[in-house]
């Protein structure tokens, strides 16, 4: 914000307003380098800016045409990267869903139209509904929200049902921990999503749409509303779009319930009810919102649609693998150098994503695993780093593409603790309607907690597996059905870590508090007393210049001594 203000005042001070267009964009995906400024047309990429730097960019680059070398991003060898197009973070990417992020001003419909926006809608209205559906089917586009169901097929189901009213819905209730692509697309390119939805509406014969966006995303809601208002003003929403089609769209805000991302729960929430899922069938395409045929598509899915119409289905299907066509947005989070959003063709390997685009693991630590697909997904260990990222390969490995969250974990991560965390999330977010999910996940969490506290038994591991199977087979919705996945996949790849907790009563990653102790190495301790002075429970004693000792019965294992010691004399064992 301050950087923007500084730039703005400098630009106007130099009377450059007519030549320079300064605007806020959606996230370009490089959260760790922020704040960033990109100067087009060259794509000069300035990173980690302070307000004073912004002024320098204006006076040097914009006024005199000289690139400010010291503010450019650097590659792994600390060499300046001249433009965003050559930055290692972007070079391996293929941005289709994210094509306009960071390129156009999301609050300007004119800029969207200038890059070909709403032309696809116009083109579609010249086609028959069946032609549109066939085109989307041919592209191979599959739902990007998690399940990966072919989008064209979904549309065909809803088109086939006769009804006086049909609905299309944008699912923007993104909630998987570690996934934030829907937020970024709505914030950075809302018109693409609106256009995609209008095309879906035409294809199935719906005249009313809803955008269900979680309330935690206020900026996304604001920009989407601006975009809707602009589209109405331009006659691209409302009555008689291109003189041929009536379609309008209304935003509905979520209110803090993860389960509303499940499509039947989402529809109930729009109806004004508790967001609880119902059994399927009937599928929403047959009986959805208020009992009418309804199509619910994810934000990212819809953002792809105008590009597919514009460039043709076979252009899109030329990216990706045999069964996973096109590209996928992944969100990189956790212990990785370049956190942020990336979009790559399906089939790109996990190694390329983590080490080439993601820049590897920070602080010289080792890669341990990545959690793919959030709380419904599973972990992928280092031995499978060359796995191609596509629907089938990930499923075979016990994970899922899901919404595309990739949480990278380094060697300091305890996999039992991580599994426990994901389960804690599911327990919190279970709607409580069906017993396997409500009670079963709670019991699994209790067992995992017991194991991380060093009180687990071998029988507990068997119990976990039995419970997991029962929950998967009997839960009502996907939230419950997939809830045990993080436990099952960590058991599959990191069983030895579970056994260490249960049998040896140790935590190999030294995370679980009850299973570690802090010790002072007498030969390294100089007796500086800093640890003793900072110990919150006065558990450390010793004379000045003498080796100190920790009273294990008083130690609460907060780790303060380890952080404070300047001589590496405190160790975690």
């Amino acid at each position: 914000m301050e950087v923007e203000a500084a730039m703005k005042s400098k630009i106007s001070a130099l009377n450059l307003e007519a030549e320079v267009s300064l605007f806020d964009t959606g996230c370009v995906g490089t959260c760790d380098l922020g704040p960033v400024v990109i100067v087009y047309p060259e794509g000069t990429f300035y990173v980690k800016l302070k307000p004073a730097d912004a002024e320098e960019i204006v006076t040097e680059h914009l006024l005199k045409g000289r690139v400010v070398q010291r503010l450019l991003s650097k590659d792994a060898d600390h060499v300046e990267v001249p433009s965003i197009f050559e930055h290692p973070f972007f070079a391996k990417q293929k941005r289709i869903a994210l094509r306009n992020l960071g390129v156009i001003n999301p609050e300007s419909i004119d800029e969207y139209i200038a890059v070909g926006g709403y032309a696809s809608l116009g083109k579609v209205l010249e086609m028959t509904q069946d032609e549109v559906i066939k085109l989307v089917l041919d592209s191979g586009l599959r739902g990007r929200g998690g399940a990966g169901f072919p989008t064209g097929r979904k549309w065909a189901f809803a088109k086939a049902v006769e009804a006086d009213q049909k609905y299309v819905i944008i699912n923007g209730d993104e909630g998987d921990p570690g996934a934030f692509m829907d937020r970024s697309v709505l914030e950075g390119d809302p018109h693409s999503v609106i256009e995609g939805l209008a095309i879906a509406g035409y294809a199935i014969g719906a005249t009313q749409g809803y955008a269900y966006v979680r309330a935690e995303y206020p900026l996304a809601i604001k920009r989407l509303q601006i975009a809707i208002d602009q589209a109405r003003e331009y006659g691209l929403l409302g009555k008689g779009i291109f003189g041929k089609f009536d379609f309008d769209l209304e935003i509905r805000k979520g209110a803090g319930a993860f389960v509303c991302g499940e499509e039947t729960a989402l529809m109930r929430s729009i109806e004004g009810m508790r967001g609880q899922p119902r059994p399927k069938p009937p599928f929403p395409a047959v009986s959805g919102l208020w009992g009418k045929p309804t199509i619910i598509n994810n934000v990212e899915t819809l953002a792809n649609v105008p590009a597919i119409i514009q460039n043709g289905p076979f252009w899109y299907s030329s990216f990706g693998t045999e069964t996973s066509k096109g590209t996928k947005v992944f969100a990189l989070a956790g212990n990785i150098n370049n956190t942020g959003l990336i979009e790559v063709p399906f089939g790109t390997t996990l190694r390329e994503v983590v080490f080439e685009i993601g820049g590897g693991i920070p602080n010289g630590k080792e890669f341990k695993a990545v959690q793919a697909g959030g709380p419904s997904g599973g972990c992928i260990p280092a031995s499978l780093l060359d796995i191609p990222l596509d629907y089938e390969s990930l499923q075979k490995a016990g994970a899922i593409v899901g919404s595309g969250g990739l949480i990278v974990m380094d060697s300091d991560t305890c996999m039992v603790d991580v599994a426990r965390f994901f389960l804690e999330f599911t327990v919190d977010e279970s709607c409580g309607q069906c017993t396997p999910c409500r009670e079963g996940t709670k019991r699994m969490l209790e067992i995992l907690t017991k194991i991380t506290k060093g009180r687990g038994t071998l029988e507990d591991i068997t119990k976990l597996e039995t419970l997991a199977k029962a929950i998967t087979q009997t839960s009502l919705c996907q939230l419950g059905i997939t809830a045990p996945n993080p436990v099952l996949s960590t058991l599959r790849y990191f069983r030895d870590e579970y056994l260490a907790h249960v049998v040896d009563k140790t935590c190999p990653a030294k995370v679980c508090r009850e299973l570690i102790t802090f010790d002072i190495l007498p030969d390294k301790c100089t007796g500086c007393t800093i640890c003793a002075r900072n110990c919150p429970t006065h558990a450390i004693s010793g004379e000045r210049k003498q080796a100190h000792v920790i009273d294990q019965s008083a130690c609460i294992k907060c780790g303060e001594c380890l952080v404070r010691c300047k001589f590496d004399a405190v160790v975690k064992v």
Binding site: D176, G178, A179, Y217, S269, A333, T339, F421
Partner: protein
């Protein structure tokens, strides 16, 4: 959880609730948008407001309460002036949310789910709100704070203490 029975609403509060209700067509689909508006205006959804909504929409009060209590963003109890929501989802967890939580507990002298004695701060642990690129993160009211360290906590809190 019981309905907050306190009826000592001011005339302004009552007017705000009526305005919220009257801005929407009184049909069920608008229940959640109306509740959102009341939450924004009053910082909570008191029992008397729910009664007014139930009357207007012509649905049972129990139904309004049942729906409102399902969604975590609706505050039916009336808590603190500033709500601090710290993300406890895995991307934040593995990047150090635990230490930030300790710092918050120290600074505020309360546990998650509690409110400070002066009613100024409430501390909550919440699920991912999608800013994993800057984990660990928290939201105070509507403001997001990212890349948190325990050292940053006192400064952030001080900002709100000063008002």
């Amino acid at each position: 959880m019981a309905i907050n029975e306190s009826c000592c609403c001011s005339a302004e509060e009552e007017a705000a609730v009526q305005a919220a209700i009257n801005d929407f067509e009184p049909i069920r689909t608008n229940l959640i948008p109306i509740l959102h508006r009341i939450q924004d205006e009053l910082g909570q959804i008191p029992g008397w407001a729910m009664e007014a909504v139930a009357d207007k929409l012509d649905i049972p009060l129990a139904d309004v309460w049942g729906t409102a209590s399902f969604y975590t963003m609706f505050d039916l109890k009336g808590r603190a002036k500033h709500i601090i929501r710290l993300c406890e989802s895995p991307p934040c967890h593995i990047t150090g949310a635990k230490k930030v939580l300790e710092a918050l507990k120290d600074e505020l002298g309360i546990e998650p789910g509690e409110v400070t004695e002066d009613g100024l701060f409430g501390l909550e642990l919440v699920s991912c709100f999608g800013v994993c690129g800057v984990a660990p993160a928290m939201i105070v009211d509507h403001q997001v704070y990212g890349n948190l360290t325990p050292e940053m906590v006192p400064d952030v809190i001080a900002k709100y203490r000063e008002g």
